[in-house]
Structure formats: structure tokens, C-alpha cells
Amino acid sequence: MVRFILRRLLQMVLAFFGTTLIVYALMFAGQGDPIQALAGERPVTDAQRAYLTEKFHLDRTGIDGFFYRYFDYIRNLLQGDLGESLTGRQIGDILAAAWPVTIKLALIAMTVTVLVGVTAGVLAGIRRASIFDNSTLLLTLVVLAVPTIVLAPIAQYFLGVRWQLFPPTAGADPDFYALLLPGIVLGSLSLATALRLTRTSVAENLRADYVRTARSKGLVKRRIVGIHVLRNSLIPVVTFLGVELGNLMGGAIITEGVFNIPGVGFNLFRAIRTEDGPLVVGIVSVLVVVYLIANLVVDVLYAVLDPRIRYE
């Protein structure tokens, strides 16, 4: 087990540098005129252009320029310096401010997913073809069909503005209650998927041989479902949730925008819009680490859930 984790950690280092290289290359290739992008529709003065060009080595183009700027970036990164955004803010500071609120939001979404999605999925799986099963099927289909970009403003309008049950926006340092609605909206998609996944898995396992054996041995139903079926059914769900945690953190662009939460997605959106290369690469690098760790945790959890799986 320890050797397995160590090996994975070493792979993570390689994966990290590989992805930063790719992201940096993509930003570099797609970059038009970041200085004009920053100024919007206003004219840019020569003085400002010269100043920013020199500061960010924007005159270094082509293959040489790419490697020069990439290695310059990596060198600073290894010294713990993520660089400056085009507006002169330390990217480290931006990330330090953005991550806590995004993590809070993702955890709320995750909790909602697990609590509601998995529980309802287990129930629907046990009572296959019941009214409960059919109505959750219908509901999840609706949720899966409506994209967040529609769901978020609708939820905001009705629950926040019309009926005033929740604050319509959360802001920079929100309390738990203000984050609840964005958390539910963000988690609703994963909730629906987790529910479907759990339901199918439970329904399938209920018909498995070992359940029949357990039943004929006279085990009580609660023990069969609670211990044996659940444990086996959770393997695909855990895989899904692990990957989803990364998605929830990086994919909150729309939700964070609608509810005005200045988290990671909010900053990523702005960075892409203003062609702020250093900021995009900084955010994505951290996201890569989150994904890698989430995947590692999922793999380790497999072994806990299924004793047949052994890591050497």
C-alpha cells in the first residue's frame, strides 16, 4: 500500500509538469493581444504597452519565446512564486482568497450529493418500480436535462428574489446559509447522476448470488442491505464522486458567476476573458493537483470497500 501511494505520488509530479506545459502551450498559442484585452475597447497608450510587454516578456514569441517564458514560469513556481496577473496582483494572493470559498461551496455540494443522492438511490434500488423509484427517475431526468446556466438563474430568481427564502447572492465571505442555495444548484447535477448510479448498482446487487445466500442463511434485511449490498454498490459511486469533487471545484464557473461568489471558477472565467495567461495557468495547475489527489483517494478507497483489491 505504501509503495503504491509513493509510486502514485511520483507519477503525480510528472503529470503535474506535463499538464502545466500543455496548459501553458495552449494559452500561449491562443493568445491574441492580452494588453488590448485588458483595456477592453479603450485605446492602449504606448507607455502602458511598453511597460506590460516588458514586464511579462510579451515580445518573446515563437518556439524560443515559448520555452523561455515557460521555464521562467516554472523557475518562479518552484520558488513558490506564482507570478503576477496582468493587473499587477499576486496570483498567490488571488488563489489564497479564492480557494477557501470554492472549497466550502464544493463541500456543501458534495454533502448534498451524498446525503440526498446516495440515500434516495439506495431507497429507489430497494423499492424498484415503486412510485418512489419512478418519481425519482422523472425528477433526475429533468435535472439532468436542464443545464446549470438555466437552473442557476431560475433558482436564484424564485428562491432568492421572489420568495426570499435564500439570499440571492453570496458575496465574498458568505455564511453557510448564503452558500446553501449555490451549493444545491452546483450539486444537483452530480446528485442526479449519483442517484441513478446508486439505484442501478443496488438493484443489481440485490439479485446477486451472495444476497440470496445471505437471505437463505436468515440474515435480517437491514444487515444485508446495510452491510453487504451497500458496500459492494458503493464502488462505482465512489469513483464517480471522486472525479466529481474535482469537477465541482473547477466547474463552478457558472454557479459562482450567477451567485457572485469570487471563487476559483469566477477567477478562471475572468482570466480567460482577459487572456491573463499567468492566472489561468496558476489556477489550472492547482486544479490539476486537486484532481490527482482526488483520484488517489478514490483508488485507496477501493481497497477499503473491496477486500479483493490489493495494491502492491
Partner: protein, 533 residues
């Protein structure tokens, strides 16, 4: 939380009654306002909060709270002195600026002529990379501060006379200099802003010290808010609220939802998608006021097919401006038929004459006789909500001129500009202009003179350049305007661009505030806004 919600429910009818009472009494200044309350105003994250480096509305809104300008503009958009006692000149070259006594910075420093001179020198010095440095280019000695290693550190045209007086010598006469001083690049900086002469302290921008009616409360909370509170030692007109929280939003739609539920007091620009419902959502809290934006379509005049002014006029004639402002913009913008905005002195209605009158038959005849291209492309930036009106314009051109027309989106305005600057065939392209100070020159100079900073259409007319230059150096404002108007008439003959629409401030406020007014620069008037008790 539940308590707060309950309070909100009970507060709603209460607020509604209060609003009714206020309406019933009929006078705006009736009781019921709270001078000790703070108001919350929506902004986007400012790029910078250094006066000479701030040229977007969010930053300039915050700076308007922290600083008091030398001159401001009255309801007729004429300049009047605020922090200046007088701004005078005999010859429009040497200007004497006398400051009012009694102004102090928020750290207690008295405001002197040096504070202005230091700030302007800092702004003009090229290695500082300030976004508004071009505002100082009319001052003598500006050239010596440019380039990578400038010859000088200070503008030779700035000279201190005494603590409250300094003179500004321009490199050429400029009649609008006094008007120009209202722009936020001309604010002073305290000694405390500089860590050593000419070097701005790194922390200054996080908590700018000004000489205005409000001072910073804490520091700039990036992506979250900037809070300011009343500065009691301010000698000018005192604001009617105790403080302002500028709350930072990335999407105007989120701010709009907050205004609807009284979580935010002012939204400065109601998003287009909410325009159709806003009048019913907000009632009389939905408001409009004149703005200075000017939207137009530009021709790449260097391209053969658009080089004939008649082609350009025919296209202009084939566009039904009223139809588009009504259907697409719900009358939040007004049709434009001149090259300058109605808010500046010297504006005349319909200077483009016939070319602005919608007449499909005449347009088609003119277009065919001038040999216009059978295919037209209109390029725009896809991130600014321009698709609808560009498509509508294209449809009109298709129907009225019998040509093929497509709108083609570039991801961002900067991508569009990159192509235009490289003279790639983009067809017609959209542009917009927001003035920096109310003067015809501010429209004509940058947009149409041969070396104008935003003349991307290759328009060159020596006669026009000459008239604008003569207007700038005219002895009086009337003479200047006469010259500018002659210049505008030349534009009407050449039609390098098609004027389409004038923008307005379309804003809304919560039931917590009254007397919300917006100026021409899309800024809330912080001295007028009041909080309802």
C-alpha cells in the same frame, strides 16, 4: 437567519408604505432620510485605483468618492470649479490654476500645488506605464518623458507659483483644457503616496488617500468590496450618507437580482436581458439619464469596395435606426445621426443629413450607381451582446440593398482590433466610444484625425485635421465649436463611419435609497444619493 428573513418580510410592506408616503408628500427632500446610513453600489473589480492609471468606470466610480476634481460638470455639461478656485488663461497656452484653501488629504496633509505637480509628473512618465498618460500629452515637456529611458523626469510645463497656485504651459494652445481637468487623471496625490520622489508606494493602491468627500474604510478587498466613509474635514459639499460600500460583481445579472431583493442599493447598468422586465420589476426605481456613449459602424476605407463615400452613405441610408433601437434595445439607446453625442456643447441634430434618413429605394439606387459590393460582412466582438443588433442590421441591408450580408463574431474586441490593425478584410466593424470629458474635440480628435488613437479605418483628411487643430487652439469656446462643427460637416460628406446609436445610463435602485443620479460617465453622484430611514 430565520429572524432576518422574518424581518425582511415585515420590512417589505413597511418600506412600501414609506415609499408611498414619500411619494404623497411630493417633495424630494422631505424627511425620512438617514444621514448616518451607508449605501451599497455595484461595481466590477477595478483594474487599478491610482488616478492616472484608472480609465474604466468601476475604478473611476471609487476614485470619485475619494477625490474631489478640479472642475466638475453642471446639468448643462459645462465645467465649473470644485477643488480649484479658478482656472484661467489669456492665450490658451499658459493656464493658471488656483486651488481653494482648506482642502486636506485624508491623512491630514494640506493639499498644495506640489501634490498636483507630483501626481501629473508620475502619470506622464512613460516607464510608470500609466494607462491615462496620454492626458498629459498636451503639456509642454511631455515628449521628454517618453521612451524607455526618458530624458527628463518632470514635465517642464508645470510650475509652482505658491502653495495654492501653479501654472501649466501647453505645447500648443488648447481651448478645452479647463474642461479636460474634470477627468480623474488630474487628481492630486499626497506626499504619503510616494515612497521616494517619483516612486509610488506599493501599498498606496490598496488604500488610496485622497482629498475627497469620502475616505477609505479599511483596504480594497479584491473581488469583494471597497468601503469608504464620510470624511468630516472635507471643506466642500458634504455627502448625505455616512458611507458607501462599493460591492464588486462579475455579472450584472447577479447585481440586478440583489437590487430586486434590496440586498444592493444601486445597479449602474441594467443588463440587456432584464430590460424588458425592469420597468415593471422596479417601477419608478427604474431610471434613465443621458450618457455619452456613441456606437457606430466603421468602414475599412482603405479597401477598394468601400472607398467611395456614396457606397457608405447608401449603407447608412438602408439602416432603419428607430426599428433597431426599439426592437433590440427597448429604447434604452437612442438613434444617432451625428458624429458627436448630444451631451456636448456644439452638438447639432442630424448632421449626416439625407444619409441618416431611412429610405430603402433611394439607398438601393445610390448603392447600385456607386457600384457597392454584392457581399457585406459586419464584424463584431462576440462577448459584448452585439449579435442581436448586428444580425438585425444585416437583415435590413439584405432586404433593402439586395446584398448578401453576414455578421461575423470575433471572440473579443482585442481580437477584432488585431485583425483591423493588420488590415485583414473584416468588412464593416462595430466600434463604440465613451468620452473622457464633455468636448466635441474628445470625439473628433481620437476617432477621425489622421493620427487619432482610435482611428482604425484609415480615414485621412488633411482639411479635417486642420479644422480640429484650429478648434483646439481657438481663442474662445464659441470659435472652437464653430471650427469643430465645420470639421463635423466634412465627416458627413466623407462618412468614414455610420453613426448608429447614443447610449444612456439605464440604472435601477433599491427601495432603501432616493435621489439616485448618474453622471455622463456612468458614475453615481455620491453627493446627492440619500438613504431612506
Amino acid at each position: 437567519m430565520r429572524v432576518r428573513r422574518l424581518a425582511a418580510w415585515t420590512a417589505l410592506p413597511l418600506a412600501a408604505t414609506l415609499g408611498l408616503v414619500a411619494c404623497g408628500s411630493g417633495s424630494g427632500g422631505s424627511g425620512g432620510t438617514d444621514p448616518n446610513a451607508a449605501v451599497r453600489i455595484e461595481i466590477a473589480e477595478p483594474q487599478h485605483l491610482v488616478p492616472t492609471n484608472t480609465n474604466e468606470t468601476s475604478g473611476s466610480q471609487v476614485l470619485a468618492a475619494l477625490f474631489s476634481p478640479l472642475v466638475d460638470y453642471d446639468d448643462a455639461h459645462q465645467a465649473y470649479e470644485v477643488a480649484a478656485e479658478s482656472v484661467t488663461s489669456e492665450d490658451n497656452i499658459t493656464w493658471t490654476i488656483k486651488l481653494k484653501d482648506g482642502y486636506t488629504f485624508h491623512n491630514g496633509e494640506p493639499v498644495t500645488a506640489d501634490n498636483y505637480i507630483d501626481a501629473w509628473n508620475y502619470g506622464a512618465y512613460a516607464p510608470n506605464g500609466q494607462g491615462s498618460s496620454y492626458f498629459f500629452e498636451k503639456i509642454a515637456g511631455y515628449e521628454d518623458l517618453q521612451g524607455e529611458t526618458p530624458a527628463a523626469q518632470t514635465l517642464s510645463g508645470l510650475e509652482k507659483v505658491d502653495d495654492l497656485t501653479f501654472t501649466v504651459t501647453l505645447s500648443a494652445p488648447y481651448s478645452d483644457f479647463r474642461t479636460m481637468l474634470g477627468y480623474n487623471a488630474f487628481y492630486p496625490l499626497p506626499k504619503a503616496a510616494f515612497s521616494e520622489p517619483g516612486v509610488l508606494d506599493e501599498g498606496y493602491e490598496q488604500a488610496p488617500i485622497g482629498q475627497g468627500p469620502f475616505k477609505m474604510k479599511g483596504t480594497w478587498q479584491h473581488d469583494s468590496r471597497v468601503e469608504v466613509e464620510r470624511y468630516d474635514a472635507f471643506p466642500g459639499e458634504q455627502p448625505k450618507v455616512a458611507g458607501v460600500e462599493f460591492r464588486i460583481y462579475q455579472q450584472p445579472a447577479a447585481a440586478y437580482a440583489d437590487v430586486l431583493s434590496d440586498n444592493l442599493d444601486v445597479i449602474k447598468m441594467i443588463p440587456t436581458e432584464n430590460l424588458s422586465t425592469a420597468p415593471t420589476d422596479l417601477g419608478d426605481r427604474f431610471q434613465t439619464s443621458p450618457g455619452s456613449t456613441f456606437q457606430f459602424l466603421s468602414f475599412p476605407t482603405y479597401q477598394e469596395e468601400f472607398s467611395d463615400p456614396d457606397v457608405r452613405k447608401a449603407i447608412s441610408m438602408a439602416i432603419d435606426r428607430e426599428e433597431i433601437t426599439k426592437a433590440v434595445f427597448k429604447d434604452s439607446q437612442a438613434p444617432a445621426r451625428s458624429f458627436v453625442s448630444p451631451v456636448v456643447a456644439g452638438y447639432r441634430e442630424n448632421t449626416i443629413g439625407d444619409a441618416g434618413t431611412f429610405d430603402p429605394a433611394k439607398a438601393k439606387a445610390l448603392y447600385e450607381s456607386a457600384g457597392g459590393p454584392s457581399q457585406i460582412e459586419i464584424s463584431y466582438n462576440g462577448d459584448g451582446g452585439h449579435k442581436d443588433w448586428v444580425d438585425a442590421t444585416c437583415n435590413q441591408l439584405k432586404a433593402n440593398l439586395d446584398v448578401a450580408c453576414v455578421g461575423s463574431a470575433e471572440p473579443k474586441f482585442s481580437d477584432l482590433l488585431t485583425k483591423v490593425k493588420a488590415e485583414q478584410p473584416v468588412g464593416l466593424f462595430r466600434m463604440g466610444w465613451v468620452m473622457d470629458y464633455p468636448s466635441m474635440e474628445n470625439y473628433l480628435g481620437p476617432l477621425y484625425t489622421s493620427n487619432g488613437s482610435s482611428n482604425f479605418y484609415g480615414y485621412e483628411n488633411p482639411e479635417f485635421d486642420k479644422l480640429v487643430a484650429e478648434g483646439s487652439s481657438a481663442a474662445s469656446e464659441e470659435e472652437a465649436i464653430a471650427k469643430y462643427q465645420q470639421a463635423e460637416d466634412l465627416l458627413a460628406e466623407d462618412m468614414p463611419v455610420i453613426p448608429l446609436r447614443y447610449g444612456q445610463n439605464v440604472f435601477g435602485h433599491s427601495s432603501n435609497v432616493t435621489n439616485v443620479e448618474m453622471d455622463l460617465f456612468n458614475r453615481v453622484d455620491l453627493l446627492k444619493i440619500e438613504a431612506v430611514q
